[in-house]
Structures are given as structure tokens and as C-alpha cells.
């Protein structure tokens, strides 16, 4: 089976995680003043979701957990070893599972959809697929073995 080069996977992971940090940070900041993220397509979905009892866990906005997860995923893209591959897979798997649960809550419990939460769920799903491909394709290899391209320097990824 032909896998994309690990360097490309790492680049993609860094890019998508950076977008995720942006989305989760926006949700956190918009919510922090007692407000809510603005739904770009109109409608009050974001306000309803932000005001629901599910938007906070132990008083902490769930988007804060998102920021932490995306930052961790961003960092795993800078290392080409098994620890980074497995950490990336495990974190994105947890994030993906949590996104599935949050989307269920939006549809069936809160009965409102917030586009920003959907955006984050999509980004986390992409990250999970990228990290799963990375783990399956390159687990047990050293450095950039199997890459179609020469190894990237860490600085080149940033």
C-alpha cells in the first residue's frame, strides 16, 4: 500500500492543528465575556450551544480542552519518531471521540448546531485520519524512512 510521505503527513497535521487552535481559541474568547461565537450563516445556534449546560465541564469551556489538544497535536508534527506518531494518534483519537459525543449533544440534546463546533469536529476528524495513516504507515520506522521526499528539517515544518 502506498502511503503519503511522512514529511507530507506531518506538514498536513501541523497545518490542520494550527487551524484547530484558531477555531478553538475564537470559541473560547467569544464565550469568555458571557457572549457566544457569531454564527456566520446567521441563526442563533451558536448562542444556544454556548449557553447550554453542556458547553462547560467543571466550569471550564470545552473549547479550552480543544486548544490544549490542538497544541499537543501541532507539537507531535515536529518529531519523526514512534512516540510522536503514537501520541498524535492517541490524542486525535480522543479528540475525534469527544467530537462525536459533542455533535450528538448538539443534534439530540441541545437541538442546535454551532458552525464553529462543526468546523472543529471536521478538523479533528481530518487530524485523526492523518495521524492514523501516519501510525499505520510509519510505526516502527526510524526517522523519515519510507519518505518519498528527503527528510524535512524541523524548522522547515514551522
Amino acid at each position: 500500500m502506498n502511503f503519503p510521505s511522512e514529511a507530507n503527513l506531518r506538514r498536513a497535521i501541523a497545518l490542520v492543528a494550527a487551524l484547530g487552535i484558531g477555531v478553538a481559541t475564537y470559541i473560547t474568547i467569544a464565550d469568555s465575556g458571557g457572549g457566544a461565537p457569531t454564527c456566520l450563516a446567521g441563526g442563533g445556534g451558536c448562542e444556544t450551544v454556548a449557553n447550554s449546560s453542556y458547553s462547560h465541564i467543571a466550569g471550564v469551556n470545552v473549547a479550552v480542552f480543544g486548544i490544549i489538544g490542538y497544541i499537543a497535536l501541532f507539537l507531535t508534527a515536529f518529531f519523526a519518531n514512534d512516540l510522536a506518531r503514537f501520541a498524535g494518534f492517541a490524542i486525535s483519537l480522543g479528540g475525534f471521540g469527544f467530537s462525536v459525543y459533542l455533535t450528538y449533544l448538539e443534534i439530540f440534546k441541545i437541538e442546535a448546531i454551532c458552525q464553529w463546533c462543526v468546523a472543529s469536529a471536521v478538523l479533528m476528524t481530518i487530524l485523526f485520519l492523518l495521524n492514523a495513516t501516519r501510525l499505520i504507515g510509519y510505526a516502527g520506522t526510524d526517522g523519515e524512512v519510507g519518505s518519498a521526499e528527503p527528510p524535512e528539517s524541523e524548522a522547515g515544518l514551522a
Binding site: 449546560s53 499505520i136 516502527g140
Partner: protein, 255 residues
């Protein structure tokens, strides 16, 4: 000499072979861990969804919904007892409802908000809620709890929040714990006072009196509506009113 070279070559081959086996072992182990993690996450998500679906029928004191939505609907509108709106408004719309009634909940969520926005907030009409307890034995304590919240200026917050968190009819959800959770979330400040008043003879008698009044009007179901204004002949009963526009029209005609 050639023997030595061969030995070195064989040694190198053996080391390479060992390294390959080690790498393969590490890969297998990582993939096994990965598969285990996938299994654990699937179990966790299923458990979370099953656990949270338990409260989907409402009536959950631990997890009241739409507190903010109710606040934004009624806050800033004058309230006195179970009256919402300007006390000097020309038209009075009377609702006879039962807090356990699912149709009243639907009216509260889908029809009355537009009437409140367009007619009550503009000062054209006020709405008065009266208890008409016909569903079951918990309807009376729920009704009295609402009146007690009204004594502290939070009657409509209580009413709207109760409807939005209503459980299944007569399923026994309207316990003291549920009633008190709604009171706290509705912004009732003095809970001790509220507890005392909701059990008082005065308020339970009032629930019974408005129920008797509804029966005298000939109402047979909840919610039922009546209207009073400068253009009506005293209190007029509204027939089937099922859209916000019909309510707004009735208010215009009565004013």
C-alpha cells in the same frame, strides 16, 4: 583472511536481521496499542451517549435546559404575580394552563414568545397565567410553586423554565427537588420564603379557585385562552388559537 571477512559479513547480516525483528516487534506493539485505544474510545463514547440520553424526557433537576433562553425572553418585561407586561396595557390575555401539559409546553415554546416580543414588550397587552390543573396530582404543587415564584417577581421565569424542562405527564418528575431546582434557576431569591409560600393554604386555594373558574368558563382542555379589552364585551373566550398571528389579531381586535 577470507574467513575473517566472511565472519564479519555473517555478523553484520545477523545484526541487520535482529534489528529488523526488533523494528517489526515495535511496530506490532504500537499497532496493538492503537487498536486497544480505538476500542476504549468507542466504549467511552457509547457510555457517554447512553448516560446522557437518560435525561432526554426532561424533568431532570440536575440538568435544567434553556435557562438563558428563558432569561432573554422575559427579563426586562414588567412582572407582577403571574402577570407579564405593562400593568396599564389595554388588553389582557388570559391563559389557563397546567404545568404538566405538553401542549402548554408547545404553546410556551413555539407560539407565545412571538406574542410576548410583538405585543407584550410593546405595551399593547399583558398576559396573565392562571392554573387549570387537570393532568394529575403533581399539577397542583407545580402550579402553587409557580405562584410562589410570582410572589417574588419571577413567576414567568418559573413558568417558562418549567415548561422547557417538563417531563412526561404524571411520571412523578415534579418532585420537591425538581420544583426547587427550577426556582433557583428561575432566579427566585428567597428560596426559604418560596418554599413556605408554595405550601401555604393561600396559594393552593388560588390554584383550586382558578381551576374552578376555568371550568365555569366551560374550558375542557389546556391551554385555554380568554381575552379582555376596550373592544370586548367583558371577558371573551378565544376559540382554537394555534398561531402567534391569530393571537396578535385577537389582541388588535380587543384593543
Amino acid at each position: 583472511m577470507s574467513n575473517k571477512k566472511e565472519r564479519e559479513k555473517r555478523r553484520e547480516e545477523r545484526l541487520q536481521e535482529e534489528a529488523k525483528v526488533q523494528t517489526g516487534d515495535r511496530r506490532t506493539k504500537l499497532l496493538q496499542f492503537g487498536a486497544g485505544a480505538v476500542f476504549l474510545v468507542i466504549v467511552a463514547v457509547v457510555v457517554l451517549i447512553v448516560a446522557s440520553s437518560g435525561g432526554s424526557s426532561g424533568g431532570d433537576a440536575q440538568n435544567l435546559k434553556e435557562v438563558a433562553a428563558v432569561d432573554s425572553l422575559v427579563n426586562g418585561v414588567p412582572q407582577d404575580g403571574m402577570v407579564i407586561g405593562d400593568p396599564s396595557a389595554k388588553v389582557e390575555l388570559m391563559e389557563y394552563g397546567d404545568l404538566q401539559c405538553p401542549v402548554c409546553k408547545a404553546y410556551s415554546e413555539e407560539i407565545l414568545p412571538q406574542v410576548i416580543e410583538n405585543k407584550v414588550k410593546s405595551g399593547k397587552a399583558r398576559i396573565v397565567f392562571h392554573n387549570f390543573t387537570i393532568i394529575g396530582e403533581q399539577s397542583l404543587p407545580a402550579g402553587a410553586a409557580t405562584l410562589a415564584a410570582g410572589e417574588q417577581g419571577r413567576g414567568w421565569n418559573y413558568l417558562e423554565l418549567f415548561y422547557r424542562n417538563q417531563g412526561e405527564e404524571n411520571s412523578g418528575y415534579a418532585t420537591d427537588e425538581f420544583l426547587e431546582a427550577v426556582a433557583k434557576a428561575a432566579g427566585v431569591k428567597n428560596i426559604a420564603q418560596w418554599n413556605k409560600e408554595r405550601k401555604s393554604k393561600a396559594l393552593t386555594s388560588e390554584v383550586e379557585a382558578t381551576t374552578a373558574q376555568a371550568q365555569r368558563y366551560g374550558f375542557t382542555g389546556t391551554p385555554s385562552f380568554a381575552i379582555k379589552g376596550p373592544s370586548t364585551n367583558g371577558v371573551e373566550l378565544l376559540g382554537t388559537v394555534s398561531t402567534p398571528e391569530e393571537f396578535e389579531e385577537a389582541i388588535e381586535e380587543a384593543s
